[in-house]
Amino acid sequence: MQNKPPAWLDALVKRFLPSELYEELLGDLHEQFAFQAEEHGAQKARWIYFFEVIRFCRPYFLRRRFSAHSKYSTSYTYSPTMIRNYFKIAFRNLLKHKGYSFINIFGLATGMAVAMLIGLWMWDELSYNKSFKNYDRIAQVMQNGSVNGDFFAGGHMPIPLGNELQTMYAADFKHVVMSSWTYEHILAYGDKKFTKQGNYLSPNAPDMLSLNMLKGTRTGLKDPSSILLSESVATALFGEEEPVGKLMKIDNKLNVKVTGVYEDLPYNSHFKDMTFIAPWDLYVSSEAWVKRAQDNVEWNNNSWEMLVQLSPTADFDAVTQKIKGIKIKHVPEVASFKNEVFLHPMSKWHLYTGWDKTGKPDGRIQYVWLFGIIGVFVLLLACINFMNLSTARSEKRAKEVGIRKAVGSVRSQLISQFFSESLLVVACAFVVSLVLVLLLLPIFNEVADKKLALLWANPIFWLLGIGFSVLTGLIAGSYPSLYLSSFQPVKVLKGTFRAGRFASIPRKVLVVIQFTVSVTLIVGTTIVLRQIQYAKNRPIGYDRNGLITVTMNTPELYQNYNALRDALIKSGGAVEMSTSSAPATNLNSQNGGFDWEGKDPNFKDSFGTIAVTHDFGKTIGWQFVQGRDFSRKFSTDSSGMVLNETAVRYMGLKDPVGKIVKWNGKPFQVVGVVKDMMMGSPFEPVYQTVFMMDYGWANVINVKLNPALSAGESLKKIETVFRKFNPGSPFDYKFSDQEYERKFAAETRIGQLAGIFAVLAIFISCLGLFGLASFVAEQRTKEIGIRKVLGATVPNLWGLLSKDFVVLVIISCVISTPIAWYFLNGWLQKYTYRTDISWWIFVVTAILAVGITLLTVSFQTIKAALMNPIKSLKSE
């Protein structure tokens, strides 16, 4: 049997050994192998052979193999000396053309910084909630249905459902957690009082959320009068004191004992606002309506949030299938709108927050994609600059290429030379971009409402950052390196080299791409801002100036309506006060069960319901179109009702004033009709709303500040009154106009971000254009000189040089118009109340783009046109 050493080892030897020694060394190796095989057997010989080969890979041979002074050296692409030379030349080139280098590096750095910011943002969005250990097991229980064909879904659930899931489906759920929703409550310890957001949760919640307990244990909520505090709240309340075991108060009525402190939940999580957890049982026993719902097994009272953790063997879809009919089983009426109970996994809580009318999930994921695409485009713009400037300067470097080729460079060497140049530029740009990101991050966090930080310690960040820089360098360097290295030395050196008529075509195409992106972004920003403005200009039907709301958070506030009102007005800080079930900026309650004369019995009605007091109208300044406001003069007004215009249309009433409307059997008399008040989303039509007289159903106090005083003075006066009437609570108030502004927060944020990106895109494009213009002006120096000699004027020459660029920008505008229209039209469809995309936006944007272009190139073109022809013609 002929034994042979493994072939792959021989291949390895061939790679690492100096070629001139290869034959004899491999011969010796094989001879020794044959010898060893005879002595120890083939298997052992192979092992010995393996170790011998490995030992051959040592510095001596490697150095001989890769050293240039070998007797038989050939021109070798990756020789360190040559690479050093490439970098030296690259550095000299960068320093020689400082302007170009600046444009290149700075433009690229801006692009990379933007891409990095967007990358960080996307990372943050995608890692939302991932800090929870049971991330892929947790879900929210929700229900959906459809009314008149429109899909809807919501997270308000009835209490008995929780018990049912826990008992009937015990095998599928590890934890079922009831939640009161995260709301503001007052926490008090001694003299310290704070308004903090917190939640009443079932005792197994800390386990489900894998809370990191700093003090106490996760079982702390088992005691029905206990509370778990987050670290920051514990510090605020107790400072240096030991919090565990201390007694404190919630909402000035519930005495609880601190049984634990947990580490603050991360900012990019669903529970970022939840700063304390109290036991669900405490909530039930302290709120009569909740206790009633629990004791009477009210399946129809959908008011609470419900979170579950699946058992390790269950999966979301299968469990959803099992439980989807549960609600219909207990409340047969809901079958009429195809009610289904389902699980919404935690992985979708943040990015898929809603459903459109056909039941397709949507939400922030669209913005994640949108900004991802914008990031890629901005980076692309920067790469285009780099490619353009390099190719534009190719003729300048053509002679260098010719000489290098003449003295023996092969093409692969030239290619690697240009690649090393672009990599050098990219490396500089990467460093600059890191600095830029560090500087911009605080501003970006502000605008995007995030707490992002550079992930210095994260290997993935570096891998992506560097990988991505190298890729940019390769893409950006590919065109110049492949193009420049193809020059023929003879032609170049003889001077007959001409780039040809079509050499500038790719450059022009790239400029068009740049401006198409920029113009599209400008149009996008304009329309987003216009949409916001459009919604802001809607008549809102009430006066929000100097209107503040105070949440009624303690029992004291409920008892002294008239005394409080008198005291406030007497203090001079307020001109009117009233209570209501919801602030004027938030229509938070919608109900059915109304009946009126002429109602179609099959009509499924739904109204926004607000409970108000006599003084509500005067406080917010609503405007009547029919009838009158509530008045204490009419005792019948205690069961009075005011409708808005939409409600009148919705009900189909001809002459509403004086009619009786019943709600769940209770009659109300309509006393008046008010102009539509914009209480919900400013992008949706006003909802049909009824305002009922009810002093008992009150959640907020509305106060109209005295317009004669400054807001600060009025508030100070009001504060003393509130301190007297409500000693157990800090004085927290909200300005209605600020609350109103917050309705636009999402849109404003998109508008701001799009605006920033548009400015950056334009900036990068203009940098590139500036570079190109200066190049063109330089290249055509002689032509300009001759033209001047023959009598061309400066405006003539300016027009000649600028024309080329303006044409490109106009082409971009034409291309971007349908693109922008398509995408923005799609975006606007989301809003019922939307602005139109008028043609003049495109025209103005085009004029703007051309204007910016002219400004950018004019500096160079005018400089060229003013040049003395004697100077430009006498050289050479």
Binding site: D28, E31, R58
Partner: protein, 109 residues
């Protein structure tokens, strides 16, 4: 001294080249050394590097021999010791002998 430095292993390899006179190449030198040094681990690559270094320093010269079948038809490189190599070995031997003679009590027993 003007003479190139000679390491311990290089000296052994040089001596072996002298011993094998005319038949010295990588495998035979490694085998000879292994046999004489009580199966001390001798790697082929180490022997080769020593040989090439000796050649660079001028202690040995080499030439390619004929092809043989057991090496897959590849040629061997035979090494011969040069006059400089011989003189260097002799000098080193002399230095050692003098040092041995200088030890006051040469018997270590």
């Amino acid at each position: 001294m003007g003479r190139s430095y000679l390491g311990e292993f290089e000296e052994l390899v040089l001596l072996t080249v002298a011993v094998l006179e005319g038949t010295a190449y990588g495998v035979t030198i490694a085998a000879e050394l292994k046999q004489r040094m009580n199966n001390r681990l001798i790697s082929l690559s180490g022997v080769h590097i020593a040989l090439y270094r000796l050649e660079e320093k001028g202690f040995v010269v080499s030439e390619l021999g004929g092809a043989t079948s057991e090496r897959g038809g590849r040629r061997k490189r035979f090494f011969r010791i040069t006059a400089l190599g011989k003189r260097t070995l002799a000098e080193m031997r002399q230095v050692r002998n003098e040092l041995w003679d200088a030890i006051p009590n040469p018997s270590f027993s």
